[in-house]
Every structure is written in structure tokens, then in C-alpha cells.
């Protein structure tokens, strides 16, 4: 049916004038793919779906949201009121808001798995270094977007989260104070901050969409890696459609089941996706007892917290991102897939565990025990990148097959 549509006269008329149809053919239909891609490769498509979902739900929320910290009575603000109006009075507004909130968590969950897959099968290696770096950039970009977005409900966690995180900027030597006021538009997080964060939370996802399209186009230049990590021969290449369209659609089906289960049965994600304290309106005179970022930011936050020096903590967090950027050059082994690299595989799994542990620590209030654990995990995180350039010297890789 799709073939018929793309071969039709109307399609031909459009294609003669815009090349639209041949782009569709190139990127969605004929795109040559190795036939051994497993379900880990579905996370790219799923992430794309979530991006669309976030933009659509976000635009609809923006129609009823009001970015104003001006008090409306009883300690509540216009922004907080407008979110509750969406939850109560706007038809199905609660559904759209929950989709957006759960969608943010789902986006990060899927992106982390997408990146883990890339690391496991060595998809960051030549010729896909740039693809990987774009991916890390997309992650950081997403974290900025979600940081802006989290301020908007103007609840306690919104306010104090933004206060703490913007204070990080203030620690930068020489320009810190200047930069801090530039970001906040005032001497503390307030109405001007809320207004500009709303503007940026609207603009940045559009830019993110462009970067993501570029990421996909770049992928289609260097083509997909595969679990074996060697180039596939001609006979093992199949077109994207129908094979991976149906496979990804099944993956999307499974994802939607989990996603909707959260949206309809646990929309606050057990206090992880919409935090309990954020149902209290922002109060600049009182900090909540237990303040931590949302779960998908906690690993980075914990690295920051592990270092007992403000500036060095920030440097540590920045370094954590830099290491990810440099991954293609830190790893010097010619073998891609961890399937054939026993040492890399063990280190990588420990690295993944260290991120989970960091995330866990970052989510809980500091205790002496937790500090020790968090620091250990931070050390493990960086050790991975320190060891990486030397592994290939002693690692005995398993024999690689000729073909997939």
C-alpha cells in the first residue's frame, strides 16, 4: 500500500518539485540495515516518538499554562494555579499533563538505554564518532530543556531545584556572579526567571528536533552498526521497510504499554516523575527537608555532591560529560562489540552499575554512609575512562567472525 502511494502520480508530481518522496524512500524505506539488529536498536525510534509526543503535549499545555510567579493568594501563584486548572478544568488536561511529565522520564530512560547499547556494541567508533558526539550533545541539551521545564509548575521542588542548580553557575570563577544574574534575571530565582525559562523551554525543543533530525541523517550516512560489530556483507543487508518498521513498531507497542501504565496508574511515578513536594507551591522562605533533582539528573548531581569543594565539584560534573564526549578517542581497541571484548565488557557493566548507584545516592539526603558510597561510585565512573585507553594493550579479544 505504501509502495502504491509513493508510486502514485501525485507523489511523482511532488517529488519532481521537492524530492520529498526520494527522501522518504532513502531514510524510511530503502535504508540498508544489517539483518541482525536486536531490540536494543528500537530505542532510537522510540525516542523519536517520545520527542514528537513531548512537543505535541507541550504545545497543548502551553495553551493553558501561565508563566507568572505573581502571587494569587494563600501563598499560591498564577503559574501554580494555571497548572491546577489544567489538572482540573481543562478537558482531559490531566491526561495531557501526565503524558508530558511521564514522557520526560520516559525520554531519559529510553535515551540512557540507547546510549548504553551504543557503548556496549562499540557504535561510537570510527566512522560513527561524530554520531556519538551529537548524541552526547543531545543528552546535555535534553537535560537543559528538562531543567527549564521543571521550574514551570512553580512548586517547592521547581523553585529550590532551580535555585540550587543555577547556583552552580555562580561558582564559576570571575564571571560567575555576572552569569548567575544573567540566567536568573534577578538576584534570586523569581518571576523573570520563570518567564525566560518558559520561553527557552518552548524554543529549545524545536532546536533539539533539528539536531535530532541531523543525528538521524548522519546515521544514514555512516549506517547502523550491529551487535557483532563487523561490517555486514551485501547478502546480510535488508531494507529498513518493512523489516525494521514492523520490528520498531512492535517495540513501540511494548513501550506504549509501559508508558500508558504509568500515565494511567502511577502518573507521579511513585514520586519520582512528579515529586511529592512539588504539589506545595513555591515558597522562597522555606527549603524542603529533602531536596534532590528528578531521577534522570541524579547521577550527575551526585558526582557534583561527592566532591567536597564547590568549584571542583562543578568541574567534576563537567568532566563527567567531557569524558563521554571523548569516548571514541579514549577507547583505542580496533574491536567494536563488547561481545568480543571480555575486559571492556566487565568494566562497562561495572560502569553502568556505578551510574545507577550514583543516581540512587543523588536521590537521597546525605548520610555519612551514602557519601562514601557516592564517592566510590564517582571514582569508578572516572576510573572507567582512565583505564579505557590502556585496555587494548592487555585485553585478549575473542576471534571476530568474517560476517554478521
Amino acid at each position: 500500500m505504501i509502495d502504491k502511494m509513493l508510486d502514485s502520480k501525485v507523489a511523482g508530481w511532488v517529488d519532481d518539485r521537492t524530492h520529498l518522496i526520494r527522501y522518504i524512500r532513502f531514510h524510511l524505506i530503502d535504508y540498508p540495515t544489517p539483518k541482525n539488529l536486536n531490540y536494543w536498536y528500537a530505542f532510537g525510534s522510540i525516542a523519536l516518538l517520545i520527542l514528537v509526543l513531548q512537543i505535541v503535549t507541550g504545545v497543548f499545555l502551553a495553551m493553558d499554562y501561565k508563566p507568572s510567579a505573581i502571587l494569587s493568594g494563600g501563598g499560591f501563584s498564577v503559574a501554580f494555579d494555571s497548572v491546577e486548572r489544567i489538572m482540573r478544568d481543562v478537558n482531559d488536561g490531566w491526561l495531557i499533563r501526565y503524558m508530558h511529565a511521564v514522557g520526560a522520564s520516559a525520554f531519559f530512560f529510553v535515551i540512557y538505554l540507547h546510549m548504553a547499547r551504543g557503548m556496549y556494541y562499540g557504535s561510537y567508533k570510527k566512522p560513527r564518532e561524530f554520531l556519538w558526539m551529537m548524541g552526547v550533545f543531545i543528552l546535555i541539551f535534553m537535560q537543559a530543556i528538562v531543567f527549564f521545564g521543571y521550574l514551570l509548575p512553580w512548586g517547592q521542588m521547581s523553585f529550590w531545584g532551580a535555585t540550587v542548580i543555577t547556583n552552580i553557575i555562580g561558582a564559576i570563577p570571575f564571571v560567575g556572579d555576572w552569569l548567575l544574574q544573567l540566567v536568573r534575571g534577578g538576584f534570586s530565582v523569581g518571576d523573570p526567571t520563570l518567564n525566560r525559562f518558559f520561553a527557552l523551554h518552548f524554543l529549545f525543543p524545536v532546536l533539539l528536533g533539528i539536531v535530532v533530525l541531523w543525528h538521524v541523517m548522519a546515521l544514514h550516512v555512516v549506517h547502523s552498526n550491529n551487535p557483532v560489530g563487523v561490517e555486514a556483507s551485501e547478502k546480510n543487508i535488508i531494507p529498513f521497510h518493512p523489516y525494521y518498521t514492523v520490528k520498531d513498531l512492535f517495540g513501540i507497542g511494548v513501550f506504549l504499554i509501559i508508558f500508558c501504565w504509568f500515565v494511567f496508574y502511577h502518573p507521579t511515578g511513585f514520586g519520582l516523575m512528579i515529586e511529592t513536594d512539588n504539589f506545595n507551591p513555591a515558597n522562597s522562605m522555606r527549603t524542603p527537608a529533602d531536596i534532590s533533582p528528578v531521577w534522570y539528573l541524579t547521577p550527575w548531581y551526585e558526582i557534583l555532591r561527592s566532591v567536597p569543594n564547590k568549584l571542583l565539584g562543578i568541574a567534576g560534573m563537567a568532566l563527567a560529560y567531557v569524558c563521554l564526549f571523548l569516548l571514541p578517542w579514549l577507547d583505542r581497541s580496533p574491536v567494536r562489540s563488547a561481545r568480543y571484548r571480555p575486559v571492556y565488557r566487565s568494566l562497562l557493566l561495572i560502569f553502568f552499575v556505578s551510574i545507577v548507584v550514583l543516581g540512587y545516592c543523588g536521590h537521597h539526603p546525605v548520610t555519612p554512609m551514602l557519601t562514601v558510597v557516592g564517592r566510590t561510585a564517582s571514582v569508578i565512573y572516572f576510573s572507567f575512562f582512565v583505564l579505557l585507553p590502556f585496555i587494548h594493550k592487555f585485553e585478549k579479544t575473542k576471534p571476530l567472525p568474517e560476517d554478521i
Binding site: F76, V263, T276, C361, T367, L370
Partner: protein
Amino acid sequence: MKQTMLRLALLFCVLTPLGVLHAEEGPTLKKVNISLDQTTLRKGLNVFTDVCMGCHSLRYMTWRDLMTYPEIGLSRQDVDDLRGDAPLSARMLTELSAKDAMDSYGIVPPDLSLIARARKGHGAYIYSILTGFEHDPKGRVPDGNYNVYFPGHRIAMSDPLGWLDHDSEDEADLKAQAQDVASFLTFVGEPHQVERLAIGKWVMIFLVLMTFVLWLLKRAVWQDVEH
């Protein structure tokens, strides 16, 4: 080396769920059965308007909402009796002014629209607070202000249901009142939750069926590919 690290990783995985690592939580809350049926919600509404509303408001509920949300579904006459002179579209606000509250209690009582969502333990927290008034074992906090479940144990709200030193024959009634109002406030915190669960059931059924068809399709399409 590798073995040691793997063991370390495993240790984290075991310790984490045991809760050894993080800070101690407050006292365990009492269990409560939250039910969103009309009878309970109406009883809870009565407790709220008779007792709580002396000091607390429901900013995000209007009097009209008591008619329009089918979960409560009061008649116009019932609402007219409750609201007095207030317009139908007015928020359900207490008559206690912020200034009077400051003078009497030293604090403005929090709005209760979102209290069930904004406190850890949700409905159980409300129930526990209402039935958590005791004599301070150390005798520092005056009677009526000592509450086992309130952080720091000193609460400005003085025993609204008269739980402290209640007669044993009243216990069941007081518990029922606390449970009803906890249920009512749980509903008020998210008035579309019944609808959400009702829709969710059909969404899940549909998605499982659709995914099953997609799985069959995927298998059929991939049949002729060796892999």
C-alpha cells in the same frame, strides 16, 4: 580485580533496596483504607465543612464542583445549604482570616486542596495526623499539640477531632471520620483520578491487543529472513 569489582557492584545492588544506605525516615504511618465511593466522599465532605473548614480552605474546589464531579454529585439544594451566601462559582474558602490565624496559632493553616498529594504517605498521612494526638512522653509539648506523626511532633493544629483521651466507645466513630476526610481530601487532590483509572483499563486492553497484532506481523514479515 575484575571479580572484586563485580562483587562490589553486587554488594551495592543488595544493599540499596535494604535501605541501609539512606537516612532514617519518620515513624511508620497508620494504614488507612481510602475509598472514593460517593457515600464516603460525602461523609468526608461533611467532616471537612463541619470541622476542617473552620481554619482550612480548598482553593481549587468551587461550590459548584460539589455538583459537577459525579463522585460527589450533590444536588443544587444540598450545595445551596452548604454555601450560604457564597456564589456557586466561589472557591471553598475558610472564614478565618490570615491575620486572625496568625494571632491565634502563629501560622496560617495550609490550604488542603493538594495536601493528600503534597505529603509523603498521602491519605495515610492525613489519617495518621488526625489520629496521632497523644500526651508528650517528655511533657514539653502541651496536650493537643503533640502529634506522633508530625515532623518534630509539635503541631499548631490542636486535635480537631478530639482524639486525645477519647472514650473507647467513640474510637470507631473518630477513626471513621478521619478515614472519610482522608478519602475526601485524596479525591480533592486529584478529582479526575476515578476517570483516569476507568479510561486506563481500556487503553491497556487496546494496547496489549495492538501490540500482539504487531508481534504477529513482525513474525510474519521476518519469516523469510534467516537470522
